[in-house]
């Protein structure tokens, strides 16, 4: 079946602009995760959603970052007033089941802030 998909694959934006990154999880997966991969910080957890529970936002680096998940499926990660340090690959993953299970990753979105 289809895996996790993310769009766009690459995004170049100017400093100060807002960006939206999209993630389509595997159908039926109840949990969805966002991670950031950058040269300086490695792989960092950002946020995860599990069913109808309140999301765990503990990894979001600043209040410029937000995410939502509509209808328990598609998720959008929004970065407002982008900064150069936001340049990174943003990875989305999903998993099935209340205890998390294996996380399946999408191909990521490479964000470049100029």
């Amino acid at each position: 079946g289809a895996g996790v998909s993310q769009s766009p694959s690459n995004k170049v934006t100017e400093k100060g602009k807002d960006v939206e990154l999209r993630c389509d999880p595997i159908s039926g997966h109840t949990a969805l995760y966002w991670y950031r991969q950058s040269l300086g910080q490695g792989l960092e957890f950002l946020i995860y959603f599990q069913g109808n529970s309140a999301p765990d936002k503990s990894g979001l680096p600043s209040d410029r970052f937000s995410a939502e998940r509509t209808g328990g499926s598609v998720s959008t990660l929004t970065i407002q007033r982008t900064q150069q340090e936001d340049s990174a690959v943003y990875l989305c993953a999903s998993s099935f089941g209340a205890t998390g299970g294996e996380q399946y990753f999408g191909p990521g979105t490479r964000l470049t802030v100029t």
Binding site: Y35, Y48, E102
Partner: protein
């Protein structure tokens, strides 16, 4: 907080040979999960192998096996009969079993595996 350490930035191996990647972690928890993920240039993270901390038996998946030493907090990955397709960045990851933390994977810095013909 848990930390995951991969001390080898790069490892080189010849085709058909064996390479071992090191990973250590720090935790005060007794129940948790450990993973090895592979990331080729396509960026797609692929799960290679997983280990539950309560299981004493080391996990094995075809040519991939782990040496899990719980007391030493060590979790190394052995790739046997290396193939060109094994060339990638390999990440060690930790996941808590605590209800308030189960979703978060904590990753090491990664080890680049280079396979030479």
């Amino acid at each position: 907080a848990q930390t995951v350490t991969q001390s080898q930035p790069e490892m080189s191996v010849q085709e058909a040979e064996t390479v071992t990647l090191s990973c250590t972690y720090d935790t005060s928890e007794s129940d948790y999960y450990l993973f090895w993920y592979k990331q080729p240039p396509s960026r797609q993270m692929i799960l290679v192998i997983r280990q539950e901390a309560y299981k004493q038996q080391n996990a094995t998946e075809n040519r991939f096996s782990v040496n899990f030493q719980k007391a030493a907090k060590s979790f190394s990955l052995k790739i046997s009969d290396s193939q060109l397709g094994d060339a990638a960045m390999y990440f060690c990851a930790y996941r808590s079993s605590r209800g308030d933390s189960w979703g978060k994977l904590q990753f090491g810095a990664g080890t680049q595996v280079v396979v030479t013909p």
